[in-house]
Symmetry: C2
Subunit: 411 residues, 2 copies
């Protein structure tokens, strides 16, 4: 069995014309006209391939190929076709199209897997409307009803409004929910969105887990005053008080684990004049790690440091979302699939969120990363070499076959 | 000889109505209608007191009282009646009105000093048009001709335009210049604009010098990148690179001298998002000290630290203006004047600039500070207790008399 690399690459290119503008990349915000065109296009491709296609109550487009035992479990290969504003043509699309290509190969080779296979395009992974990964969370029952009506500062419509616009009934959202025990597993191929694979010259990343994200805003009060007439000893300088954290936080994260990251991405000093002592300093803190204990420890260390050193500091939680570890069995089959495809692989965490994250707490889940040139994503400059794309879908195919073999039911 | 405290305080209050708006303090930007009203008002008061009044080529309003030897030297008591936008009623005004009150007392008591006395309202101390302390620098020959035509970002007119509007000829500016050897000295009473006198419960500050100001903008380049997918070891975080300076600079200043101050008043991080590693960090540095060596040492230490630690750092000089030491002899007479007035005094530097700074390099110069409540100035909340105001003018009077005695020529 060989995948049809020309067909697969042509699909990527064709899908990449939907929502594309010269110099501005691809804009297919979830459930806008551009996204609807992409949804219709992939539905057509799935039908052409011979899949049974349906759209569930969350707007997820599902192409199903029955396995040896139609009443048995189902393997999902999924991702999303929506993009950020001015995004690239690989993020999300690869996951859906790699699944489609695998399904076409299985059909053409008349191979029946021991499970049904579902190729899914999930709704609003990028969070155009509200919180992101909506469709996959709706399927796992972890999307809150309120998300349908929430509105972001960007002025995007609510999900409920967009649902109605495209002919979906937001009151029936619970019908998208499925019992996790239906599923044998969840697989997703995605661009790395970081530079590790490229730097190390490795073709395939086997994702060990998806990082959690904790976000905080810290406000430090000092006292604004004349920078000429206020002696150093009389100052309450909010920036000087806060500054040690800017260096300490990265150290604390590195001391916990190589895989943890901590970022102070924004600092604002008020009133912000050359000749006025900073009366206020606001800064953001973001922690990411798969390991919830690492996250809690660094957060607590920050909290304690602020308590001990800056009486006036106020630490506000923006949100705390825990990471997930992916499935060891599926990971081992991706490793075997890589060897069979003749490419090198390495285990690595995912620093960004994905639909896989919605499934991982409930269903054995794994992800295949392919290199991102320059580590760039969410940008018109997002690029992955065609050879890497083809390697990725080959590994996906061999992963399915390896697992099927191991489970002794391949037909 | 007793000063007339009721008259002096009434003058301050009456002048304080010109340019005043409820809740917005006083706005008398140099050479605007409000400032012209104040200039006319003080000219009238000087004439009523019996002074010979003239306006020089820089617009300085000069009230002259001849001494025992009209051909001899002249003592100046000066400051300014212009204000910042929404300023207070003490900054500048005290210096002019304290001189006026001393002159009235000398006239009423028929006391002739060994020098002529000139009470001067200098033009545009606050720098509404361009660089500040214009009138006093024009008198000392240290104002550049270009300052007449320079325009600030605020959109204020050029000095030349304002000169013409009020009937002054900007091409004759050099005629305001006087030979420093004409002057026996320069005295200025001013609000402290800091909180030291109030905190220590002392009535009079004897100014030892006026700080120089060095200002820099520092730009640090890093590399903006995804805060989730870029491992700590691969980052070029401009904020993390710059942050140690935020703590070190104040330490370096304190290590040099108790009187030196160093301020990082503004920090900007770009792109400034929670989930993006700072690619750029810009911050301001301001140093103030009377001592030029202290200034140069801390500047050099900063420069060296940046060179050694942040290859991408660029340090741009905004300006470097050296400080001045004031005159020991005049200072000792202010101390004696304080004792004779029954008030406590303390030697202290001035952290802000004044017209005295223009005279100090050329003419023996001294300043008398009175307390600022809460250290606040350049604000509608600027306030000095009437008792402190009266103490200040008493000390000014006794300083003149003490110096006159010492010079053995009092009539």
């Amino acid at each position: 069995m060989k995948i049809d690399s020309v067909r697969f690459l042509a699909d990527i290119d064709e899908l990449g014309t939907i929502g594309y503008r010269e110099g501005q990349g691809i804009t297919r915000l979830a459930l806008t006209d551009e996204d609807v065109r992409a949804r219709d296009w992939v539905q057509g491709r799935m039908e052409e391939a011979g899949l049974d296609v349906r759209v569930d109550a969350a707007g997820n487009v599902i192409g199903r190929l029955e396995g040896a035992d139609p009443a048995g479990k189902t393997m999902v290969i999924g991702s999303h076709l929506d993009t950020v504003p001015q995004g690239g043509k690989y993020d999300g699309s690869l996951g859906v199209l790699s699944g489609l290509e695998c399904a076409r190969n299985l059909i053409e080779a008349d191979v029946k897997l021991p499970w049904n296979l579902e190729i899914i395009n999930f709704t609003d992974e990028e969070g155009h409307h509200f919180a992101g990964t909506f469709g996959s969370r709706a399927m796992m029952g972890s999307a809150a009803r309120e998300e349908l009506y929430g509105v972001k500062e960007t002025g995007a419509p609510s999900l409920a409004d967009s649902f109605q616009r495209v002919g979906l009934d937001p009151t029936r959202i619970d019908e998208a929910r499925r019992d996790p025990s239906e599923f044998r597993g969840y697989l997703e191929m995605h661009v790395e969105q970081g530079g590790t694979l490229e730097e190390r010259g490795i073709d395939i990343g086997i994702v060990t887990g998806i990082v959690g994200i904790y976000r905080y805003v810290i406000e430090v009060e000092g006292q604004a005053n004349h920078a000429g007439t206020t002696p150093m000893a009389s100052r309450k300088d909010a920036l000087v008080a806060a500054a040690p954290v800017f260096g300490l936080l990265p150290e604390w994260a590195r001391a916990r684990s190589d895989e943890m990251v901590a970022t102070i991405g924004d600092v604002t000093v008020s009133p912000g004049a050359m000749n006025i002592i900073p009366g206020h300093c606001r800064f953001t803190v973001e922690l990411r790690s798969i390991d919830a204990e690492d996250m809690a420890r660094v957060r607590d260390r920050l909290d304690t440091w602020l308590d001990d050193n800056i009486r006036s500091a106020l630490m506000k939680t923006v949100y705390e979302k825990d990471g997930v570890y992916l499935d060891d069995v599926l990971m081992s089959h991706i490793a075997r699939g890589s060897r069979r495809s003749g490419v090198e692989s390495v285990a690595m965490p995912s620093g960004a969120g994905h639909d896989a994250q919605s499934f991982a707490p409930y269903v054995p889940t794994a992800m295949i990363f392919v290199p991102s040139r320059g580590g760039i994503s969410h940008s018109p400059d997002e690029y992955t070499d065609p050879e890497h794309l083809v390697n990725g879908v080959r590994v996906m195919m061999h992963t399915l076959l390896s697992l099927a073999e191991a489970e002794g039911q391949e037909d």
